[in-house]
Amino acid sequence: MTPEEFDRVAGRLRNPAPGSRIEAAQKYGIDLTLLISQLRLTPEERARELEEAAQIADEVRGAARRRRQ
């Protein structure tokens, strides 16, 4: 995504048009600022970030299970 394309995409997500699917997602509870953050990254960086997040989630789940035992 070029910087110009990103600006256009981020602008739509920051200011959803009334009746748009973006507005519907916002009303559904999707944090559009998170999407802007992800779109700022390359696919490689997006994958890396979510891999780390998934790993932390696994560790937390494991810790909660251990605490219950």
Binding site: V9, R21, I22, A25, Y28, L35, P43, R46, A47
Partner: protein, 158 residues
């Protein structure tokens, strides 16, 4: 889940596959964490052999198979099925020869894009196809993913 290693061994082993599901959503900008890797694979005989070979070191086993029952992981097993929900040493990997709403591997491949991720150039479902597949799958978790994916698609429209 060691998704990076899983994608790399598939890619380096010459397996013909497309990343579908949650990880394809992530590559398009989704912020939803997923704990499994879903891939669509080609059923060409040579591909089944490669797929069986590269995953064998990670001890794939069907998740719904009762403990104690034997499971043989090879190209013949892959030839006899279209959906394999696996536990592996790398984590949960689901292999599908066909995708709801899209069709066979060739049709899935036609609805995919080449992406640089996991240190490789890999095919991942494009956003429109991913939405179509999620809608066709129709499970609650698939439908829950739609608002975010549709927002991403609309935001990226020309």
């Amino acid at each position: 889940m060691n998704v990076r290693t899983a994608v790399q061994v598939l890619s380096d082993g010459g397996v013909e596959f497309v990343i579908i599901g949650g990880w394809s959503a992530i590559l398009h900008g989704s912020a939803q964490i997923t704990n499994d890797l879903d891939i669509c694979f080609s059923r060409k005989p040579e591909n089944l052999g490669r797929l069986a070979e590269v995953l064998a070191p990670y001890h794939p086993r069907l998740r719904d198979l009762p403990q104690g029952l034997p499971f043989i992981w090879d190209a013949s097993t892959l030839r006899n099925g279209t959906v394999f929900t696996l536990n592996t040493d790398l984590g949960i990997i689901d292999l599908l020869a066909e995708v709801s709403g899209l069709g066979t591997f060739e049709e899935v491949k036609a609805g995919s894009v080449l992406v640089e991720a996991f240190g490789r150039r890999v095919l991942a479902l494009d956003l429109g196809s991913l939405i179509k597949a999620k809608r066709a799958a129709g499970r609650e978790k698939d439908l829950r993913a739609l608002p975010e994916l549709e927002a991403l698609l609309e935001a990226e429209e020309p």
